[in-house]
């Protein structure tokens, strides 16, 4: 008789992902050392496709900061940025990334033998994530004396209007003009359209991957999503990401066909709202696993679904994708979205992560959990923590809260 499964089953495609992520970082590192190539830093939901249209190699510092978190190095380096005037209350991606750079550390060294993050020719942000990304990029811009360009988003958007789209697409067009001298060439519209097309394809596949979680039992967890979202963030706009998600989707579909559950004996299904706690992926994953509880869906992993992208209208469709994004929407729109997700994924409860340093991606501070529980009758739990700064996370408290929540959902 086989031993009962103690930890979540690994997704076999992870091996492929590891390889393509390594290739990505090694490729950028090589480009940064090649005078004939140009490197651009881009925020996670920034205009990556446009940058690809100019032939830039694109690097995503939020991804790097998340790696600092996941490798539990962030908390060690955050204080260096704090001491330089970047408060412990602001984005701990920023403080971890800048603090690590100040100390000459990158997790890319241990993982891939890369000495340092790539020096950019330009840094391009979109404030749709938060204003902190702008400050983050400005720090590096000043440090390297390279240009910092950006898109200023609209916020608290209820109905998306023509004005919103015109405003953002206008900014993207202006950005294209400003990038031309830095790239040393004109925008290649064919390449731009192709990147938009591939991004759209990647996005559709990523959505299908995440949608497999609506199956009972779910073949994947939010924690799998946190790991497997890597290519959707850093390789969208490329064929590599499309191929990867085709492979991953096939594997998950096979799990469904064979009745394989990510959490065998799945009893409780939860929705996660807010940022991951990067340094606690494994601990949280194992705790939910032991409680026969599967976190089947999240707003966070859905943040890289851009089904508005259209190669025939690259500027406008990018503007629409960035403007219809959850993070920049009004609370009523966000609540409709979460309520629909809860229904589609048949969830029993919602966990809100109140991330101390990430107010923009924290949605429990203005009464939303209470309003949604009243509306959907689905109970909620708030846990206090942070994306990267583990000084803000009480593991014992979080564990007890989660265990007590599952008890509440399963009793009677």
């Amino acid at each position: 008789m086989s031993e009962p499964q103690r930890i979540p089953a690994r997704i076999a495609s992870a091996k492929t992902m590891k390889k393509i992520m390594a290739d990505h970082f090694l490729g950028i590192d090589a480009a940064s050392k090649d005078p004939s190539k140009r490197v651009a830093w881009c925020t996670s939901v920034g205009p990556a496709e446009l940058l690809q249209g100019f032939g830039f190699e694109v690097y995503y510092p939020e991804n790097h900061a998340a790696i600092l978190g996941a490798t539990r190095k962030a908390t060690e380096y955050i204080p260096y940025a704090n001491a330089a005037g970047y408060s412990p209350d602001i984005c701990s991606y920023l403080t971890a990334d800048v603090g690590a750079y100040m100390q000459g550390y990158t997790p890319l060294t241990a993982a891939y033998g890369i000495e340092s993050v790539p020096k950019p020719d330009v840094l391009v942000y979109n404030t749709n994530q938060c204003r902190d990304v702008q400050d983050w990029f400005m720090w590096y811009g000043k440090h390297w004396n390279v240009p910092v360009l950006g898109i200023q988003t609209h916020r608290n958007i209820g109905e998306v209007t023509r004005e919103h789209i015109d405003s953002i697409s206008g900014q993207i067009r202006k950005l294209a003009e400003d990038l031309e001298p830095i790239a040393g060439k004109k925008l290649d519209m064919d390449q731009f359209r192709e990147s938009v097309r591939l991004s759209r394809k990647c996005s559709e596949l990523w959505e299908k991957v995440l949608r497999t979680g609506s199956h009972v039992p779910s073949p994947l967890t939010f924690f799998d999503g946190q790991i497997h979202m890597g290519p959707a963030v850093v390789l969208r706009g490329t064929r590599i990401a499309v191929d990867y998600y085709e492979q991953l989707l096939a594997e998950l579909q096979q799990r469904i066909d064979e009745g394989v559950a990510a959490v065998p004996g799945e009893k409780v299904r939860l929705y996660w709202e807010g940022m991951p706690v990067w340094g606690k992926i494994r601990a949280l994953s194992e705790q939910f696993f032991e409680l026969n509880t599967c976190v089947v869906a999240s707003t966070y992993c859905n943040s890289w679904i851009f089904n508005q992208l259209d190669p025939d209208e690259p500027f406008e469709s990018m503007a629409r994708a960035y403007t219809e994004l959850f993070i920049v929407r009004s609370d009523p729109v966000k609540e409709d979205y979460i309520a629909e997700m809860c229904e589609d994924f048949k969830v029993d409860g919602v966990v809100y992560h109140d991330a101390k340093t990430c107010p923009n991606n924290t949605n429990n501070r203005y009464g939303m959990p209470q309003r949604l529980t009243e509306r959907t009758k689905i109970p909620h739990l708030v846990i206090n923590g942070d994306l990267n700064d583990l000084r803000c996370y009480s593991e014992e408290q979080a564990k007890t809260n989660i265990e007590a929540f599952v008890e509440q959902l399963t009793e009677g």
Binding site: P379, C392, Q397, E407, E411
Partner: protein
């Protein structure tokens, strides 16, 4: 004699309760948790057995709870302190209630419906405000043993003295300022207890009967009056409020053996 035991290994104190088949308390024990949770659990359990005039072989099931619930090797099951406080409080007050538990390092507010089903709960944020630690800090500052804080607070004459800061460090600085102004220790002691009550109560909307449990209420009986004044509503306290979680755990142990109470 068949007994059922609950062990609540809290951050400050470990409590044990043994109940009989009729769910009556047969014995109670108490030990400081300190750095040896298993040892504290053994000690409190031993005291409860001694008070019950029983031996370990009489105990049919043990449920552990509290921060150290996983450290009680002799427990047959474990439940969170949220569940156990809810169960223990509902045992004494079988109606729709809101339990306010103020412990050494955390507080919890648990809403229970008329059938004893937990509707919602929340714990304090990562902060000493609204917990026993705040009172311990204040006792240190006033240089009085923590068990004398209640007596001091009972002797307060100026109820207008208040401590407004959320942060414990800021609150202690605030107290320093008041000492400098000549505010009496008695009034400061009361103000500190009012601060704990406010920090717990201000974070929630209360409906139904409020039940106060936990070590802070057990060791500072004046807290009930302060909670009532702060809330503007009646607050009830079960017998031996520090043992409510252990009692709930013992009830779970009995329940697992088919000894269900009428309320549960």
């Amino acid at each position: 004699m068949d007994l059922f035991a609950g062990i609540d290994v809290g951050s400050s104190a470990t409590k044990a309760v043994c109940i009989d088949e009729n769910l009556n308390v047969a014995g109670r024990g108490h030990a400081y948790s300190a750095a040896d949770f298993e040892g504290a659990a053994r000690k409190a359990f031993g005291q409860a057995l001694e008070e019950a005039g029983a031996s370990e072989s009489d105990v049919k099931a043990v449920v552990s709870t509290g921060y150290g619930r996983t450290n009680v090797a002799f427990a047959t099951r474990r439940r969170t302190e949220i569940d156990c406080h809810a169960r223990g409080a509902y045992h004494y007050f079988p109606m729709a209630i809101t339990v306010v538990d103020i412990g050494g390092q955390d507080n919890k507010v648990i809403e229970i419906d008329g059938n004893g089903k937990r509707i919602s709960f929340s714990m304090n944020r990562k902060c000493a405000a609204g917990t026993g630690s705040f009172i311990e800090e204040m006792a240190l500052r006033l240089k009085v043993p923590v068990h004398q804080v209640n007596e001091l607070a009972e002797a307060a004459t100026d109820e207008s003295v208040s401590i407004g800061s959320y942060c414990t460090v800021f609150a202690m600085t605030e107290i320093l300022g008041k000492i400098r102004e000549g505010v009496k220790a008695e009034d400061l002691a009361r103000a500190a207890l009012v601060s704990v009550a406010k920090r717990v109560l201000e974070a929630h909307v209360f409906t139904g009967q409020v039940i106060a449990t936990g070590g802070v209420v057990a060791h500072h009986p004046i807290m009930r009056k302060i909670l009532q004044q702060t809330l503007g509503a009646d607050v009830k306290v079960p017998p031996f409020p520090q043992h409510t979680g252990a009692m709930g755990a013992a009830l779970f142990a009995a329940g697992a053996h088919g000894k269900e109470s009428k309320d549960g």
